[in-house]
């Protein structure tokens, strides 16, 4: 008998014939084994981003997005995955604004969707095109809260949770992992959705500070990241700063990822660029606008865009230089401090990216 019973209607609707591709996400036994096999000693886990990606991101892995859309997302690590040419990744974008370029470059072949696009910046025309051209295989549709509960179940160490989210919607018809069940506590009709605990293969979480062992501190919205840190089989921490363990112990009590979850620690100032890093720098609004309004218009535009911003950058410093260098950094710092109420209010107006307005300074 098969180990996993997926929803048949969803398998048919999604045209999934070989269900092996779905198994690892819900395989709590192998995730537990991976966690048991991690070294427990307080070793120095620092390495370069190149080494961390080479060692811990494998072809075919299930990779979860972390942070929230523009906020604290490890974009620079994703760009390194692209530069290293990893293949056949399953991407869980929850929330997500930016997996489609990794589909175009052949890094991502499968997606677990909950959101595509960049809010007020617009929908992702690139994803639309790639879907119609058959270059991405959707393995499951979700709501943001649905995926969040799958990770939360994993963090809590339970096989799954019952939820009212997604009930009776068409999302259920395109998600083989979900099942409608009767609430076992109730006599009367009380349907709920069983959401299984989700175990990605690898996650990269960008944090504010970490010590060399991997204790990592997050300031601002944690989104799903504490749950993802607990569930992922392999965990890479990229951090704006590496600090002594004593700094974590005495100054950073709060949202901490414990060191024994962590496989690699990468010191990575500007690791969330071109996104927002709470307390550190504001996001590059014009860069996102350029991506959606120019980069996503055609494959040719996208190729040109990625050549400039990803493949001809060696690291995040090259990227920051292209955004406008020190001048960009100073403004990004000023803006994020104002947005958080940590200095005087400033004027947030800026000139939006348009085809006729493209400068070398991307605020």
């Amino acid at each position: 008998m098969a180990k996993y019973q997926y929803d048949q209607e969803a398998l048919t609707n999604l045209k999934i014939s070989d269900t092996k591709v779905l198994d690892r996400l819900v395989d709590y036994e192998s995730a537990r084994a991976a966690h048991l096999a991690k070294k427990r000693d307080k070793a120095d886990k620092r390495m370069t981003l190149k080494d961390a990606i080479a060692k811990y991101v494998s072809d075919g892995d299930i990779l979860t997005d972390s942070g929230f859309a523009y906020v604290r997302t490890p974009h620079q690590a994703y760009f390194e995955i692209m530069r290293q040419g990893k293949k056949n990744i399953q991407m869980i974008g929850a929330p997500n604004t930016n997996q489609s370029y990794m589909i175009y470059t052949g890094n991502v072949s499968y997606s677990h969707n909950s959101y595509l696009g960049a809010e007020m910046r617009g929908i992702d025309k690139n994803y639309d095109r790639l879907l119609k051209d058959g270059r991405i295989k959707i393995l499951s549709e979700w709501s943001h809260g649905g995926v969040a509960l799958g990770f939360k179940a994993a963090q809590l160490g339970v096989p799954g949770v019952l939820s009212k989210q997604m009930l009776a919607s068409d999302i259920m018809k395109y998600n083989p992992y979900l099942k409608v069940v009767q609430n076992p506590m109730r006599e009367d009709n009380d349907p709920a959705v069983f959401i299984p605990a989700l175990f990605p293969d690898v996650s990269i979480i960008h944090c504010h500070v970490a010590d060399k062992y991997g204790n990592a501190y997050i300031y601002g919205p944690q989104v799903n990241d504490l749950a993802i840190a607990a569930s992922a089989r392999k965990l890479i921490i990229t951090a704006e700063e590496i600090v002594p363990e004593s700094d974590i112990r005495y100054n950073r009590q709060g949202a901490i990822i414990p060191f024994f979850y962590v496989d690699a620690v990468v010191e990575m100032p500007f690791g969330a660029v071109p996104g927002n890093m709470p307390g550190y720098y504001y996001w590059s609004r014009q860069w996102w606008e350029k991506f959606l309004r120019y980069g996503c218009l055609s494959y040719d535009n996208l190729k040109e865009f990625l050549d400039k911003w990803v493949f001809s950058c060696n690291d995040q410093f090259d990227f920051v230089n292209k955004l406008g260098g020190a001048k960009w950094i100073a403004e990004a710092r000023r803006q994020t401090k104002a947005a958080e109420g940590d200095n005087e209010d400033i004027d947030f107006s800026y000139q939006e990216y348009t085809l006729t307005h493209d400068t070398d300074l991307y605020y």
Binding site: F68, Y115, M120, H144, G145, G146, Q165, S169, Q222, V223
Partner: protein, 263 residues
């Protein structure tokens, strides 16, 4: 700069009508766009004591510039609490949220929302859109929800192409029987009018039309038969010059969400 003396444009009207849905001292779950404008405008006018909650985890920020995203620092500016995403939706399920605002690409006669795709074929849609994000979560869990968007026949079909978020499902008692929480959508707000749902059938019904908009316009831009209220159709209460001034000078001075693309 914006012309402070120009008459209210349709987006400003939408923002104001949304604002009027917010009662003081309530907890309001806010999505990107016009809901943010409405929340802040409500706080600056008739509802100074509301608490705003955002999907990425921010709660009750002190007022600042208009956020551009539900993860923006302005959604958690000096917030006393910062939730995880699973917990902020759980607040909705647990009855801590009074009202939620949602956008749509399509909405049907029962208030079901589509933000996934336009077309018949999931694998080859005419347009693939964003998918759910938090839309389904709020629609499934919120006590009351208000839908906001533009009204055209393709955006108001009899049946949406994909049910991202359940409204009143197939009408009658079907939402409750499907196991969902809350009352479902209580209002749909568009550039023509405000709609509610008839008590028994749960079909969309005109509640009020904006000044100068005849019923025929509303009906002609709808892909299904709109129900009419008994008697004369009320006029939507219009934005006053004082509130319009606050909207233009304090809430959205750059017109990020409340200027028309051509303006």
């Amino acid at each position: 700069m914006r012309d402070l003396n120009a008459p209210a444009n349709p987006l400003e009207m939408l923002a104001y009508i949304l604002t009027k849905q917010i009662k003081d001292h309530k907890v309001v779950y806010v999505g990107t766009g016009l809901p943010m404008v409405a929340g802040i405008l409500a706080k600056k006018t008739h509802a100074p004591n509301i608490t705003m909650v955002y999907e990425s985890g921010g709660q009750d920020p002190i007022m600042g510039d208009l956020p551009w995203s539900v993860g923006c620092p302005l959604t958690w500016r000096k917030s006393p609490t910062l939730m995880e995403m699973a917990y902020s939706f759980a607040q909705c399920a647990n009855g801590y949220i009074d009202i939620a605002f949602l956008g749509f690409a399509q909405v049907d006669m029962y208030g079901n929302v589509n933000t996934h795709l336009i077309g018949e074929d999931f694998h080859h849609p005419k347009v693939r859109m964003t998918g759910s994000g938090g839309n389904n979560d709020l629609a499934s869990l919120a006590e009351n929800m208000v839908l906001v968007g533009l009204q055209t026949p393709d955006k108001f079909p009899e049946r949406v192409d994909f049910v991202t978020s359940v409204g009143h499902l197939t009408g009658g008692n079907s939402r409750r029987e499907a196991g969902l929480y809350g009352n479902g959508p209580i209002a749909v707000i568009t550039q023509w009018g405000v709609y509610d749902f008839e008590e028994k059938s749960k079909r969309m019904r005109v509640k009020s039309l904006h000044p100068g908009i005849p019923f025929d316009i509303a009906q002609q831009t709808t892909g299904f038969e709109l129900l009419k209220p008994e008697g004369e159709i009320p006029l939507t209460e219009m934005i006053t010059p004082e509130v319009l001034h606050i909207l233009r000078t304090e809430v959205d001075p750059r017109g990020v969400f409340t200027t028309l693309p051509a303006a």
